[in-house]
Symmetry: C2
Subunit: 234 residues, 2 copies
């Protein structure tokens, strides 16, 4: 999927991408040479966010900003970075703009903070996980991949390599492999095949544990999976 | 709590301790100089297990074997290492033998394998976690500490330092601190304050994720928590 110049020809639309998680991922991927579209409810906000990243990375940055549904229509890889309370409504709204064959990367974490509770407590989701809720809401023929829940937005915005693994769960092995490749573009990140989408139930909850640890110990925690053979880590 | 010779005067009873997890913990703690009582339904089996560890460690090993209720009565620190399907019945049976002021360390993981399903899928427990179920079943004045869920029994039985952190959750901060000290006696292990017992819900589920990774990638996986200040790790 590279253009003749060796540059990837696959735009990634980061839906709800003006928040810290979306901006952090956009920054790291743009630096790795990927083409990024920041999506936002507000066209102008998206463009401002894109301009901020271009300012940080330089003129070679392949980044633009668009309203969310336009961003969806312009990319086959969609990265969802919005709070859980907005996930279902946004996916219903964007459904007509998501093309068959697209990949939706879901990093949503169902936290009790969505309903006025603590961010260190997960909410129970009827489908089992936010990612499985997303899978129910996307058009037919769209693959959902759960990933990137456990990366610190603060550390993504920085310059240092991250000290964190990304566990990738999906029922579509090809989509999962592509997203593991995208994860491994972030310095310090190793991507691990976490199996089926249903396993996102556990990966999402780990974020709540890490948030609790961050509050208790004042850090930006992440996880490393140890003890697997080298082939398990991309 | 050290005797004049500097040896800890606190026996740890490992209830249901003849299985791989119990034997692995016993081995590491005996090597660290702790006094261990292996508990089993069968007195003789417990003594055989203790003898096996003494053979491995040498005559200086402080280890003995007893029937579970006798082991409970002989120690103030109880470590529960039994499958989830046996947890409630065993705790009800042992209740009269557990002294007020004791600490019960619970490493139980509610896995679907308890009901004929997959070990990579957690079961929902009404109380929230196996540790919270344990807290409901112990006598008044007994503190429950959830810990050691994510250590590989195979690696505990070996000679190498482990590459795994132990997240310790309890509603009794003093008990939690003591158990973090016990965790840190295992070479390579760092103990992390995971907050209240309710957080065991997430720590227990991580084991199911790790079991899935072990099956998929053929390893003995564990977790490291990254990104916290040094004071967070014991």
């Amino acid at each position: 999927m590279s253009s003749p110049a060796g540059k990837p020809a696959r735009p990634i639309a980061i839906i709800g991408g003006t928040g810290p998680a979306g901006m952090g991922l956009a920054y790291r991927w743009v630096r790795a040479g990927e083409t990024i579209i920041i999506g936002s409810r507000d066209d102008q906000r998206a463009q401002l966010a894109a301009a901020a990243i271009e300012l940080k990375v330089g003129k070679q940055a392949n980044i633009s900003g668009m309203e969310n549904s336009a961003a969806c229509a312009a990319a086959d890889i969609l990265m969802l970075t919005i709070p859980f309370e907005g996930q279902a409504a946004l996916l219903k709204q964007l459904k007509p703009s998501i093309a068959e064959g697209s990949i939706l990367i879901d990093a949503t974490v169902p936290l009790a903070s969505s309903v006025g509770g603590r961010a260190s407590r997960p909410l129970g989701v009827w489908q089992g996980s936010a990612a499985q809720q997303a899978a129910e809401l996307v058009p037919k023929g769209v693959s959902v991949v759960a990933a990137f829940h456990n990366l610190s937005a603060e550390l993504l915005a920085g310059e240092e390599p991250l000290d964190c693994d990304v566990v990738v769960c999906s029922d579509d092995p090809d989509a999962a492999q592509l997203i593991r490749e995208l994860a491994a573009l972030i310095p310090g990140v190793r991507a691990i095949d976490g199996g089926k989408l249903e396993n996102a139930r556990i990966v999402e909850q780990i974020t709540a544990l890490l948030i609790g640890l961050n509050i208790r110990h004042k850090g930006h925690s992440g996880i490393r999976i140890t003890g697997l053979p080298p082939a398990a880590y991309r």
